[in-house]
Structure formats: structure tokens, C-alpha cells
Symmetry: C2
Subunit: 368 residues, 2 copies
């Protein structure tokens, strides 16, 4: 079991402070795993590369929300430890690493957080004496396993004897974690089936957003943190009223950035999303409004794995010409305002509300 | 959360009875998940195909050992429920489904349990309107996700409010489950890195066997069941003394069957293992004893993905000519006898000992 690092007695309320505390838990956990592996003669590259992956970047959104969720409810006398919120937040981040690693394999992505994706790094590491094809194959398999290990280790972080879930918390917190994990998996599955076959129907795209992002990225982390602190049902509902529109706005922003964003900001090529052909609300609205020529262009170019920059610009031009980008910006603003309204009604300490507002602003109005 | 089926009050001691009880838990769990998915507009094929995968066959070895492990220790007055051993056994089987699904992807296997592997089935399901390559790609991704879901669901089976782990059991049982899962993942990783590059060195092959099979398949399930019933450390050590040699014998038998077995018995083509080029103890011994010609033949043919039946026969002939198959049979017998000796010293009820003996015989002397 992992040794506990020096966790501050209170869960920090400032976003950088939370991040530092969560990262300390992750660093310590991985260092412990690396030592165990070394003792057992097991490959060091797993913990090494997972460490590099996690610390290459990322917004730490879910741990931040988990700790803030804890703060919204911690007036309730639950006796829960603030260090727990940080520990569980770290577990959520480790779970997210699992999601991203597998996601990058399934999307055939080449870059994330400004560096090669894990399956690419692993392929490069094992190139010597192998053909390119075999090395790529091994890289993919090794990344599947590394992702699997990250998932297992997110569980171990939850089981930590010092700051993990206490027996009496399991009943209220564990089901939320299980729900969250099932929701994101199903969201990924819906996304997978729909990719490459965009239609003017926004319903599938909205379902994907709901499961894959709104619930997984914003709602459930808040719920989990709040449940750790003994939140009651009314508070949970109010957190959802904030989280679900914010989560939708977050994903809609992601889709806009994926189509129009700049690689130096987003850390991944601006062609990836257009080449993938995901069924987004953006493309659905474009197809709704497109004339015959525009429709033909979109179906011909969007989702083409060999799309070049020139044709990408054509796609972007069509998206703009149909007004789809404007429609989505309007949807983002609408949802952002819904989220802020819900925040006004959230019976939570002022400090937590302030940070949630700051987080909402960051996630909705970001450029990467 | 899953509804509890009618579990018999006592955990059955006969192997078919245990299997029936474990399968009932799995059926009920998956039916519940299917209903939830339908309510949420989520794809039904996930639970459908996972159900088909699990009920296509399999030896249920880990759940059997879990329940038998429980029986070895249930003289200890732990107050643990016999239905729990069945529930946790079901969780182990669901976890195993995750392992196999991902394993089949990484090994590029086409058949398992007499039917197409899950990634192949999913590719076929989504062939309409897609090129072969895109359908295969989607099948692989969907299988990665389905495997991921099986892993998450093995956790949910453990969290079942009726028969899952009780709070006071978590401290002793959960670490064993975490160890087991980490061990098999690392074993898979070692196996992956070594595949295609067999050498005369048996040490890597034995390390793979230890982590991937001896501990995962035999030792930990016994430990977990025993820990549920409150087993003390001496009993755990004695269970290991039985389990580790038996587990090694089991894998060595698997390697022999993989090279020499008949598809109608094993449920998978007899060429798969030879084409994969795994670094087994069998091939290591063959390379140790091989002369120049035999070495050249083995390096040229073993691990060739397009190996045909004729060349497979050549490989088998060389394996026999070097005496490697005899060496491995001898190792199997040695370990089987070690396991039986340990069984003689196991302070457990006679019924449990009898079943463990029966299981040892089945696993070591099987033809599939």
C-alpha cells in the first residue's frame, strides 16, 4: 500500500493549492509502485511513462471539482477528513489517465499534452529489432495494459488505508464512483459507434455529451466530493443543476476548439478531430443548415483520416458559412448562464462558490 | 445495484454446484445491467455480447478456487456469509472476462471458447457501410471498451450491498484482490515484451508463469476466498504452498496444449500459440537443447504469424526431437506432486481437500 505523503490538514480551497496537493498524492503513489516493481523485477517503464503522462499537463478538472464538492458540503458534520477529498481526487485523476490512454489508442491520436501519445512512446521504445508494424502493435498492446493498470491503481488510491474511503462512506460514495465510471464508458461507446457517420441529428451528439462529459467530467466529481462530506440529496440535486449545463458547455467548447483551435494552445494537432469525424453537435448543426454543395463537401472531407490543412480550412469555412459555430457558441453561453444561475442557488460556503465560479469561467472561455 | 438472485444458504462444495451458483449471480447481474442500459438508451450489444462471451464456456477455475478457499477456512468463526464466496467468485470471473477480452485483442486471436473473439464479433456487427479496415478498427475499440466495462463491473459485483464485501472484510480481502489484479497485469506486460523473441533462458518464462498464472489463477483466488472466511497467515502460506506449484503446472500444461493440442478440445486453433511466438518454458528448453539446424528452424518458424499446418508440424517435430516436451511434462509432474504434498499438510475440512485434489487433477491432466 502507498505511503502517505504530507497532506495539509485542510483541503486547500484555491485551485493551484488543490492541484499541488493532488499531484503530491499521485507522485508518492507512483513512486511507491515504481519501488515495488523494481523489487519484483517488473518493468520500470510502466510507472515511468504513466508518471510522465500524468505530469505532462492536464487541467486536473475532476480532482478540483471533487475537492470543491467536498467544500460545498463540509458544513455538514460528517467528520470526513479533508485529506480524503484530495486522495479521492487523485483517484479520479488516475482513472482519467486510464480513459485518456485508451481513448488515444481508439482515436489513433499521435499527440496529447504536447507530447507523443503513450502507445506511440511505447512503440518507439521497443523499435529495436522489430519491424515498424510489430513495434506499433506492441506499443498499442502495452498501452492497453498501462491504461488497465491506471484503472486498477485508481481503485487502490480509493482503498488507501490512511486517506481512502472509510467503511461508513462506502455506502454513499462508492455507488457514485461506479455510476461515473459506467457512464463514461457507455458515453465512449456511443461516441465510437457514431464516429465517422455524422448526421443532422443532434440527439446522439447530445447523449454522448451527457454521458461522456457532463456527468463524468463535472457532475460526478462534484457529487463524489460532496458525498464524502455527507451531502444530502437536495444539495446533490443542486450540484447537478450547476454541473450538467456547465459540462455540456465544456464539451461544446471542446468541439469548437477541436475544429478551430490552435495546436500551440491545445497540445494536439488541429486536424485530429476533423480527421476523426466525431458526431458532434457542431457538425450536426452544420449538416442541418448546409446546402447541397456544403453537405457534399462536409461528407467528403469531414472524417477523412488523411485530411490536410488546406481541406481542413475548407471544412472550417463551411462550418462558419452554415453558422454552426455561432449556433454552438450561443448554446455555450446559454448553458454557462444556466450554470451560473444554479450557482446562485447553491447553499454552499462563499469560498467554494467563488472557486466554482472561477472554474466555470476557465472551462467555458478557455482557448485550449 | 444488482438484484440478488436466490443464492443457496450454503456455498456448494461440489464443483458443478459452485459453477451453477456463480453463473446465476453473473446472469442476474448482466440482466440487470441490460435493463439499465435499455432504460438509458444505451447500446444493448455490450451486455448481450459480454453475456455470450461469459456463457460460451470457460472452466470457472477462479470462482471454484475462491469458494473452495472459503471452505478451507470456514471453520474459523468469521461470521462470513457463504453466499459471499459465490458473489466474490462471480466478481473474479467477470474480471477474468476483462483479461481475456483484452488479451485476445493483443494476441490478435480469432477464436475463443469455440466462437469468434469479441473484437471479431463486434467488427462483423458493424460491417455494414464500413470498409473492412474501419469495421475491424471499430471492433477492436469496442472490445477495448467492453473489456474495460467488465473490469468495472467486477468491482460492482464486489460492492453488491447484499453479498459483496462487508466493511470489516475490506481490510483483509481488498488488498489481496488489488495484489492479484496488479500481478496479472504485470505478468501480461512481461509476456508481451518477451513475445516473438524466445531465448534459451527459462527465467523470463518462469516469471511470466508466476505472475500471470500461478498467482492470478490459483493462489490469489484461494487466498481471497480464505480471507473472506477469516483465514490466518499460516493457512494462507499453506495455501500458497499448494497453489504456486499447481499454478505453474497449469500454465506448463497450457503451453503444451497450445503447441500440440487439438482445436476440437481446446476451442482455439492449434496454430495460434505457435504463430504468436510466446516465450514459454517449452520453447526455452527446446532452444537450449537444439542443434544448429533445429535452432534455425525454430527461429524461422516459431512466432511466424502466417505459419501453416505443415510448418507447424515441423515446429512440433523439433520440439519433440529436442526432448523439450518431455522436459516440460516432467516439470508438470514434479509440481503436481509438490502441490499434492502441500495438500496433505493443509489443515482444512476433508470435503474441501477432496475437491481441491479433484481440481488439481483436472487442471493438470486436461486435454483442453
Amino acid at each position: 500500500m502507498s505511503a502517505s505523503p504530507a497532506i495539509p490538514v485542510t483541503a486547500p480551497l484555491d485551485l493551484p493549492g488543490i492541484r499541488t496537493a493532488v499531484d503530491a498524492v499521485l507522485k508518492s503513489f507512483l513512486a511507491n509502485k515504481a519501488a515495488t516493481a523494481a523489487d519484483g523485477g517488473l518493468p520500470g517503464e510502466v510507472t515511468e511513462l504513466l508518471h510522465d503522462f500524468i505530469f505532462a499537463g492536464g487541467k486536473r478538472l475532476r480532482p478540483l471539482l471533487c475537492v470543491l464538492g467536498w467544500h460545498t458540503a463540509s458544513n455538514n458534520t460528517s467528520g470526513s477528513s479533508p485529506a480524503q477529498a484530495v486522495q479521492v481526487g487523485a483517484a479520479l485523476e488516475m482513472f482519467h489517465a486510464f480513459c485518456l490512454i485508451h481513448d488515444d489508442i481508439m482515436d489513433h491520436s499521435t499527440t496529447r499534452r504536447g507530447q507523443p501519445t503513450l502507445h506511440h512512446t511505447l512503440a518507439a521504445r521497443h523499435r529495436t529489432g522489430r519491424t515498424r508494424a510489430l513495434a506499433d502493435d506492441l506499443g498499442t498492446s502495452a498501452a492497453i495494459l498501462t491504461g488497465d493498470l491506471a484503472l486498477l491503481w485508481s481503485d487502490e488510491l480509493l482503498h488507501d488505508p490512511h486517506h481512502g474511503l472509510k467503511p461508513d462512506q462506502r455506502e454513499h460514495v462508492e455507488p457514485l464512483i461506479d455510476l461515473m465510471r459506467g457512464e463514461v464508458m457507455y458515453g465512449q461507446y456511443l461516441d465510437l459507434i457514431a464516429t465517422g457517420y455524422p448526421t443532422p441529428d443532434t440527439a446522439p451528439a447530445l447523449a454522448i455529451i451527457r454521458y461522456k462529459t457532463a456527468k463524468y467530467t463535472i457532475e460526478r466529481p462534484l457529487h463524489i466530493g460532496a458525498a464524502l462530506a455527507g451531502a444530502d440529496d437536495p444539495l446533490m440535486h443542486q450540484l447537478s443543476a450547476f454541473a450538467l449545463p456547465l459540462g455540456e458547455a465544456f464539451q461544446l467548447r471542446d468541439d469548437l476548439l477541436g475544429a478551430f483551435g490552435h495546436p500551440e494552445h491545445t497540445g494536439k494537432p488541429a486536424l485530429d478531430d476533423l480527421r476523426e469525424g466525431k458526431h458532434t453537435v457542431l457538425i450536426a448543426h452544420a449538416l442541418q443548415a448546409a446546402d447541397d454543395t456544403q453537405t457534399r463537401l462536409l461528407h467528403g472531407l469531414y472524417g477523412n483520416p488523411r485530411l490536410d490543412e488546406k481541406n481542413a480550412e475548407t471544412v472550417r469555412a463551411v462550418l462558419r458559412a452554415t453558422g454552426a459555430d455561432q449556433t454552438v457558441e450561443h448554446m455555450i453561453t446559454q448553458r454557462y448562464e444556466q450554470a451560473l444561475t444554479a450557482l446562485d442557488h447553491l447553499p454552499a460556503p462563499a469560498g467554494a462558490l467563488h472557486q466554482l465560479r472561477a472554474l466555470a469561467d476557465k472551462t467555458v472561455w478557455r482557448v485550449s
